[in-house]
C-alpha cells in the first residue's frame, strides 16, 4: 500500500460523489436521491436522442439502456472532479461498450467536463465528440474504446496501477452482453480474479440484444451469473433502470473481496417506446420526425 503522505499530497478526497461504503439507501434521503437521478436520467435521454438525431448516425439503443447506470456512477458513486479531469485520486470509468458514447458524452457534459453545446457536434469532422470515445479529444474519457472486448482489460490495468500506487480510487467498467461474447472479456475476468482486484467493478448492460438479434438467438450467453461466479467474481443482479438498486449495488461493491460485477437487467432503447427492445435501433439514428416524437415522449419542454 502506498503511504498516507501520498494521499495527502493529492489534497483532500472530495469529489463529486459521496464515496459512501455499504450505506443503505432509505427514507427521504433515498427518495430525494431517486428523484434526482431519475430527473437526470430523463434529461440525459433527451440529450442522447437529440445528439444522435442531429448527428444522423450513432447507437441509440445501447446508449439509452445504460443511462441509469451512468447516472448512478457519475452523480452518486464516483469521486471525480470535472474541473480537474486528471485529479489523481479520481475513480475511473471505462466504457468498454464504446458505441454507447452518446450516453457517456451526455453525462460528461452534464457534469461540466465540457460545454453542452459540443453535444450537437457529435460525429462531425473535427468534433471533440467522436463516434466512439477518444481519450485524446474528450475530457473525462479515460481510455479510447470502440473495438469491443478491450475495455474491461484496460480497466484491469488501471485497477492494477492504482493498487500499485496505494491509491484508494476504484475502477468501473461498463460491458455489453453481446460484447461478452468476446474472449478478451474472459481473459480479463480471469486475470482480475487472480489478482483479486477488489477495486474493480464491472457493470453488465444486460439488455438482451446485440446487432443481429437477441443474444440468446445469436450466440447465447447462457447463465451469466454462473459464468461470472465460476470466473471468481462476486455477482450482484439489479434492475438496471432502478437508480436506487444501482446505487446500492455500487456501494455494496466497495466491500467485495475481489472483482465484482453488477448484472443490470436493462431494456435496449429504454425510454423511447418505438426504440425499446427494437434491435433496429441498435445503430440507427432516428429520423427528424422520430427524434421529435422521442423527445416528446421524454418530456421535452417540461
Amino acid at each position: 500500500m502506498r503511504p498516507a503522505s501520498e494521499l495527502e499530497r493529492h489534497g483532500n478526497m472530495s469529489g463529486v460523489g459521496p464515496g459512501t461504503e455499504g450505506m443503505v439507501l432509505e427514507g427521504t434521503e433515498a427518495e430525494e436521491l431517486r428523484k434526482r437521478l431519475e430527473t437526470i436520467s430523463r434529461e440525459l435521454r433527451r440529450d442522447i436522442v437529440r445528439m444522435i438525431g442531429l448527428a444522423g448516425s450513432g447507437h441509440p439503443g445501447g446508449s439509452l439502456s445504460c443511462v441509469e447506470i451512468l447516472a448512478g456512477l457519475y452523480f452518486y458513486k464516483m469521486r471525480h472532479r470535472p474541473e480537474d479531469p486528471d485529479w489523481p485520486l479520481r475513480d475511473r470509468f471505462v466504457l468498454s461498450k464504446g458505441h454507447a458514447a452518446p450516453a457517456l458524452y451526455a453525462v460528461l457534459a452534464r457534469c461540466g467536463y465540457f460545454d453542452r453545446e459540443e453535444l450537437w457536434r457529435l460525429r462531425r469532422l473535427g468534433s471533440m465528440l467522436q463516434g466512439h470515445p477518444d481519450r485524446l479529444r474528450t475530457p473525462g474519457v479515460e481510455i479510447s474504446t470502440g473495438s469491443l472486448g478491450q475495455g474491461l482489460s484496460a480497466a484491469c490495468g488501471m485497477a492494477l496501477g492504482l493498487r500499485m500506487d496505494g491509491l484508494p480510487s476504484r475502477v468501473y467498467a461498463l460491458v455489453g452482453d453481446g460484447e461478452s461474447q468476446e474472449g478478451g472479456i474472459w481473459e480479463a475476468a480471469m486475470l482480475a480474479a487472480h489478482q483479486r482486484l477488489d477495486n474493480l467493478t464491472a457493470i453488465l448492460d444486460n439488455n438482451g440484444l446485440q446487432i443481429d438479434g437477441r443474444c440468446c438467438e445469436v450466440v447465447s450467453l447462457g447463465d451469466l451469473p454462473a459464468k461470472w461466479r465460476s470466473f471468481g467474481w462476486e455477482v450482484q443482479e439489479v434492475d438496471g433502470h432502478d437508480v436506487l438498486e444501482i446505487c446500492e449495488a455500487l456501494d455494496r461493491a466497495d466491500a467485495a473481496q475481489g472483482p465484482g460485477i453488477i448484472i443490470a437487467r436493462t431494456v435496449k432503447g429504454k425510454g423511447v417506446s418505438f426504440m425499446e427492445n427494437n434491435v433496429d435501433f441498435h445503430g440507427k439514428a432516428p429520423t427528424r420526425e422520430e427524434m421529435e416524437r422521442a423527445l416528446e415522449e421524454l418530456g421535452e419542454g417540461t
Binding site: S57, R123, H132, Q181, Q210, I211
Partner: protein, 321 residues
Amino acid sequence: MTEWELRNTRDGYAEALLELGEKDPRIVVLDADLAKSTQTEKFKLRFPERFVDCGVAEQNLMATAAGLAATGKIVFASTFAIFATGRAYDQVRNTIAYSDLNVKICASHGGITVGEDGSSHQALEDITLMRAVPRMKVVVPADYFEAREAVKAVAYLDGPAYVRLGRPKVPVLFGEDYRFRFGKALVMRPGRDVTVIACGYLLHKALLAAEELSGEGIEAEVINLHTVKPLDREGLLESAARTGRVVTCEEHTVHGGVGSAVAELLAEEMPLPMRMVGIRDRFGTSGAAEELVEHYGLGARHIAEAARRLCHGDNGGKPRR
C-alpha cells in the same frame, strides 16, 4: 459531370453469395454479429442451414471458418475489415493461411469512408495486413459489379482470399456483363503521360482526376488494380514503362498498402518517380465519407495534383541533392 448510379459493393457481395449458394452446396457463410452491415443476412435468410453467426467473436469466427473449410466447405467469413484483419490476424495467419484453407474473408467497412463511426471502425491497414500473410490473395473491388464478380471468382480460387468491401455507395463503373479477371490489372483509360493506379473507392476519383488532367493536356492512364495481391507485375510495368511516372491511390495507409506494393515492384524492376496518394501514419476520425476523403487528401484534386507534379518534373526522377 455525368450522373453516376450509386450502389454498394457489399450488395454485390450479397448477390454473389446468393448465386453461389444456389448452385454450390459447399458454400457456407459466417458472420460476427454484423450480418446486416456486411449483407450476409441475405444469404442467411435464403440458406439458414448454411449460415452461422459467431456473435461478437472475430477470433472464433476465423478459426471456426478454418475448421469448416477443413471439412470441404468453401467458407465466406464476414465482419468489418478492421476486425477481420486486425482482431483475428493470428487466426487468419496461423490457422487459415498456414493450413491453406478455402476461407474467403469478405470484409465490409474498409477504409476511411466508414465515416462517422470514426477511427476504431475505419480499417486503414487491412490491405497491409492481408498482403503480409503468405498465400493470401487480396482483392479490392471498385463497384457493385466488380464486387459481385470478384467474389464469385475468389470462391473458386484455391486457398484463402481477402476481399475488401466498403460502406458507402459508390458509382457504378461496370455493367452486368463485366468480366472480372483475377490478378490482371485493368486499364480503365489509356494515357501516355502518367500511370495512375487505383482501386476500390478511389478508382472513381482517379477517373475524375484523369478527366481534369486531360483538360490540361496531361493524359493519365488509369489502372484499376482490383487485385492487389498477387500483383500484376507485367501489366503495371508495361504501363509504367510507357508513361515513366506512377501515382498510386488508396483510402488506406501508404505503409505496406497499394502504394507500397507498387513501390516494391518499381524499386526492383524499374525505378521511376512516383507519388502515393493515401493516408500517412494517421488514425481516422469521424466525419462524412466524402468530407474525410477531402480531409485526408484522397480526392480527385489530390490525385490530379500528384500526377501534375510528377509530370511537371517537380524533382521527378532526379535525386534531390
